[in-house]
């Protein structure tokens, strides 16, 4: 019950922020879609017709994944930077619930509000790319698992932000770092350790032939679970560290 209340709180907060910043959200969303549109137009003009369909599809999926990950990985850190600078963060640390569960709950509320938005983005991007906008349900489930992994990474980065405070430059870099991770071709153990990358291949298979293997699911569940668990542990570690250093709100 206590935890449900915390969740209601973070939902309320996410909702009221969304409500007040919806113009902002809409503009950045429109800009992103426009950029994507021009990429597709560019490829159609100069691309090699033989591989055109496939590469447009790959780009569309990559784009959707990228959009899904940017927020999950960096949102919490931006929120924490904001809370530190305006003196709100202490209340989470004073709560008997504790900061780790509160911010985990914040991630979960974020997730719930972002999913519908993500689906709309996806449909528009797929439409532009000429892919069927009837998205298979398993595509969505895979995307959600991927986002959960992203939230795990988000918690780790937020922990680092708690400790080192001014991480804005890094957060901005991460947006583009994600592209690198998504496009990389990893071998051996890295194939399993590097986040997100493996999910992209699975998503492409789903669009192409609507097929996944048991191995795919095993990989996705283990990988998401590992990242979210490690994320929670890392965040909790830094939360304790800043208490010890007396630097919770110092900004």
């Amino acid at each position: 019950m206590r935890y449900l209340n915390v969740f209601k709180g973070t939902l309320l907060r996410t909702f009221s922020e969304l409500k007040r910043y919806y113009l902002n959200t809409l503009t950045s969303f429109a800009i992103m879609t426009m950029i994507f549109y021009f990429i597709i137009v560019g490829i159609n003009k100069f691309g090699n017709p033989a591989v055109l369909g496939e590469s447009i599809q790959a780009i569309a999926i990559g784009y959707v994944v990228w959009m899904a990950l940017i927020g999950t990985v960096t949102d919490l850190s931006w929120t924490i930077i904001n809370e530190m600078s305006i003196g709100l963060i202490e209340q989470s640390f004073i709560s008997p619930i504790g900061p780790t569960l509160i911010y985990l709950s914040y991630q979960l509320s974020n997730f719930i509000f972002v999913i519908p938005l993500e689906i709309i983005i996806m449909m528009i991007v797929f439409k532009i790319a000429g892919i069927s906008i009837l998205i298979p349900p398993i595509f969505l489930i895979v995307l959600m698992l991927l986002m959960i992994q992203g939230y795990g990474i988000g918690l780790m980065i937020a922990g680092v932000t708690l400790r080192f405070k001014r991480t804005q430059a890094i957060l901005n870099l991460i947006q583009f770092g994600i592209i690198g991770v998504l496009m990389g071709n990893y071998k051996g153990i890295w194939k399993y350790v590097v986040p997100a990358n493996g999910f992209v291949r699975i998503l492409r298979n789903i669009i192409n032939n609507n097929r996944t293997t048991l191995n795919d699911w095993l990989y996705m569940f283990v990988s998401s679970a590992m990242y979210i668990i490690i994320g929670i542990l890392v965040f909790d570690f830094f939360a304790k560290l800043v208490r010890k250093r007396g630097e919770i709100a110092q900004y």
């Binding site: 305006i86 004073i94 709560s95 008997p96 619930i97 010890k244 919770i248």
Partner: protein, 310 residues
Amino acid sequence: MEALRVENLKKTYVSKNKKVEAVKGISFFANKGEVFSILGPNGAGKTTTIKSILRLVIPEEGKIYVKGIDISKHTSEALKNLSAVLEGNRNIHWKMTVFENLKYFGYIRGLGGKFLKERIEEVLEFVELTEKRNELAGKLSRGMQQRLAIAIALLPDTPIVLLDEPTLGLDVESSIKIREMLTKLSEKGKTVLLSTHDMHLVEKVADRVLIINNGKIIVCDKKTNLINAFKKKAYKIVFAGENGYINFRKYGKLYEENGEKILEVQLESIDQLYELIDKFKENQIEIKHLESIMVNFEEIFVNIVRSDEQ
């Protein structure tokens, strides 16, 4: 009954190139239902003490018991008894309305349901913000924002409420309002621990006062005792005659009121008073009236801190 106990609290901040001993072994306790006030100049260690009690800072030495619970061992249990308004002007969410703020901060403490609903109405009424419930917190005046922060701290109905410099930067009217609220809270049986360098606040609301400077205790006593101790040493002398008194200017504050010549002096002991009276006799100066007077709390504080620094 004891609500809060701090034993030998020590905190040193360590950063790259320097060490700051912010609190150097402070011990005190606060009883249930009293307003306990930590008084000290800037940098004395007030905020560090309050943050240590709230576990926002982990001290390297010392024990803190909240209703007998060791906060270092049972943090979450102990925190259930504490709520706080921290230093600075933003304990609230500016982009949310008054009502949303109360709901949000209530929820993230794990409160909810009927209890939270009713508490919100109660605290809104208590801080006189019922009418402003749908306004954005960022649009409120500074005084109202502070009252909202107090309302948020009162939501969980904890037995102990901590306030760090609650009247800092507020206009007189807002300060008075907050003073009244704090008095009401202690009347309701809440233990109020506040830090401040606002002497009026201490004078009006405190039961006991802990004066600290440079991270050390200077004195910890009932406010009335502190005032009495100094009251005995301050005297008002009204002269009967017209002449001679001017030579006594160097002993204190000399002024005229309603045509009467008055000298106010602060003395170390009663012997000094007798010496002074002897001197009046020697100079054939007649005294019409003599009384011991109250020094204001600000003077007490300044004197105590000054004598500590010498």
